[in-house]
Assembly symmetry: C2
Homo-oligomer: 388 residues x 2
């Protein structure tokens, strides 16, 4: 009997997560003629409910078009299955006759695969294909989805800095990133020189203090007449608690099914506006929440990111033949290479941005951080030097 | 003695306002050899203070690079000169030996030029070159800056709609636009079909009611399982007051030098979040403020917009030779044509979006609105149809 592959997408969508799904599907069509490819709608929920789209015979041009489309074409889910739910998923996979299950997502997704693999006892190959704009998977140099998101925020902050040159003031842009500061650091990837913004980066890896923030902004204003700031939504105070917990009334805090605080609604922005009003009265200040745009903006899909995401999907098919595991994007000093690592090496773990990506005594990229980002997100636009 | 041209940029920057400055400068270098071209820093403030950059002999390649750079390279200003300030500007222009003053901006800028022209009594030619992402200048089919901003928001809402297909819920994006709904309408320019978002458009031209908004969202959710909404920051209630005045505590309302309410800070977003929590409890909802990105995002500079902005600058030089006035971009049924109109025809007036750009009984583009936007902002990306 022909093999059956199930593919699903989990967690927050990215600009290139469909490339991974399409890369896997085309690889199966090529290497496993006659195999069934079932795309589960809305992640493991589709497996539980038997809700599939049959990708087995889908023409390549149609698949390629889906691949070039941002967000998760199969739908996604935030469900974090408990043991009973995992039993339902396993029952669903068996009912579908699955030999392999490729689940595209972040470290929560890897954790789900690990639990399922243990419960299935070897009868099905479980593969985790990496995806996250947070770039926070261990074992990976970087993750599919990150480069496109980084390109968006690099362009956004280059643009906003030009805006604030023209009309000076303070700008704070709140960027996605719960535990890892990579995306916030990427706002500085296209910084032109010492004078240009972003001038201050605040990441979850370093404790945030409102008084120090106000001092930093004041010093930047006196030097540059403007101050452009990038803040991770997940910045935390000295006690390790998310900043939003100390700034926002408890009855307004919301949590998702994973128990994660909702971080990036407007509340954090309002809290920053208030802090600036109190600390720097009379100074023009603007706080924006970049929100979902970085993860799926159709105008900032990076070619390298697309290709790597596609290749990760193709590699996941080979990984299934090797019994499963997690696909990792590593760097050999010259290029990105795919490796298969155990699910346990990635599942539920968070890769933090190395502390030496920032200067020890300033909220700015270090040479090491700059080199990393310039390798992944090379400059795409040449700009003229403004006269102010 | 050789002629002297002063050029300045006013109001909110756009992605292509530098093209107009560069178009004027190159035209002067070409048609008026030996003429001086002085760029005033930060609008009329630079004229008052004698703060200029000499563009007379700047090499064309350097100018072209500035032209391709978003935001106002000369700096901008929100100053709205009173009569005493106008006297200082006139004195500054005379001191600089100016024969012509080309001021690039919106209807406030045209109003400044009108006052100055009257006070100068014909000794200097005053030209207003159009610029605004709001697209709200009378006498114009559309304005330089609008198409790029429209392209950004069209791409942003196409992308966010795909995101909310994958993870259903309610999305509200707050878009710049104080009095005119063109930019908010442009969020729907790349809508794929009746099923796709944005599903609801709220513009300043139509009275906003919170209960009706909640009803609209509920109806959309039951039809599409998600609801993507674009709201102008300037939406007003039945009594003509900005919505923000009825939703936000009076002590938090801020005004600029023009007496304009600060509309697009986080407060309006928070108010929408609260309205959704109250009206549709338990429904996943996300409110983002797009903020400054649409007006200057380097990744969404439209070629037509760039060319028209450049041409408007070149045309402004000819307009100066004809005694001054306002440059208008009109449409002859086949193409955009430049016309010179009196400053009084444009100064201080607001062009509203025609009511028939929206359907009479729904918050959606009409055929007429769709045709207008598709002409200006043709689709740039082909996407695949998601499976959910």
């Amino acid at each position: 009997m022909a093999a059956t592959f199930v593919i699903a997408q989990g967690g927050g969508p990215t600009a290139v997560i469909n490339q991974t799904m399409v890369g896997a599907t085309i690889e199966i069509q090529r290497c496993h003629p006659g195999a069934r490819v079932l795309g589960a709608r809305h992640g493991v929920r589709g497996i539980r409910d038997g809700d599939y789209v049959d990708l087995s015979a889908m023409p390549e041009d149609q698949l390629r078009r889906i691949g070039a489309t941002p967000s998760a074409a199969l739908g996604s889910t935030r469900d974090k299955p408990d043991l009973a739910y995992c039993d339902q998923i396993l029952a669903g996979l068996k009912k579908a006759g699955a030999d392999s299950f490729i689940y595209i997502g972040g470290n929560d997704t890897a954790a789900t695969q690990q639990i399922l693999a243990k419960a299935a006892g070897g009868s099905i190959a479980f593969v985790h294909a990496p995806k996250t704009i947070d770039n926070d998977l261990v074992e990976n140099d970087h993750t599919p989805g990150f480069i496109s998101a980084a390109e968006f925020v690099a362009g956004a902050f280059l643009s906003v800095d030009l805006d604030f040159r023209a009309l000076p003031g303070v700008y704070v842009g709140i960027v996605m990133g719960r535990h890892a500061g990579f995306l916030t650091a990427a706002t500085a990837a296209w910084r032109q020189d010492d004078e240009s913004g972003p001038h201050l980066l605040y990441v979850p890896e370093r404790a945030f203090s409102v008084p120090r923030f106000i001092d930093d902004v004041r010093a930047t204003l006196s030097r540059h007449k403007r101050c452009v700031v990038a803040v991770s939504e997940g910045v935390s105070t000295e006690d390790g608690k998310p900043l939003i917990e100390s700034l926002v009334a408890p009855d307004r805090l919301e949590r998702d099914a994973h128990g994660n605080l909702k971080l990036s609604g407007g509340d954090l922005g309002i809290a920053f506006e208030q802090a600036l009003r109190d600390g720097l009265p009379g100074v023009r200040a603007r706080v924006d929440t970049l929100g979902y745009l970085p993860r799926g903006y159709i105008g900032a899909i990076n070619d390298t990111d697309s290709k790597e995401a596609f290749d990760a999907g193709a590699f996941a098919v080979d990984a299934a033949a090797r019994g499963g595991g997690s696909v990792a994007l590593q760097y050999d000093g010259k290029k990105t290479v795919m490796q298969l690592v155990p699910l346990s090496a990635v599942a539920g773990k968070t890769r933090h941005m190395p502390d030496d990506f920032l200067l020890p005594d300033a909220n700015l990229l270090s040479g090491k951080g700059t080199a990393y980002l310039k390798r992944l997100v090379p400059a795409k636009f040449e700009i003229g030097r403004p006269f102010v």
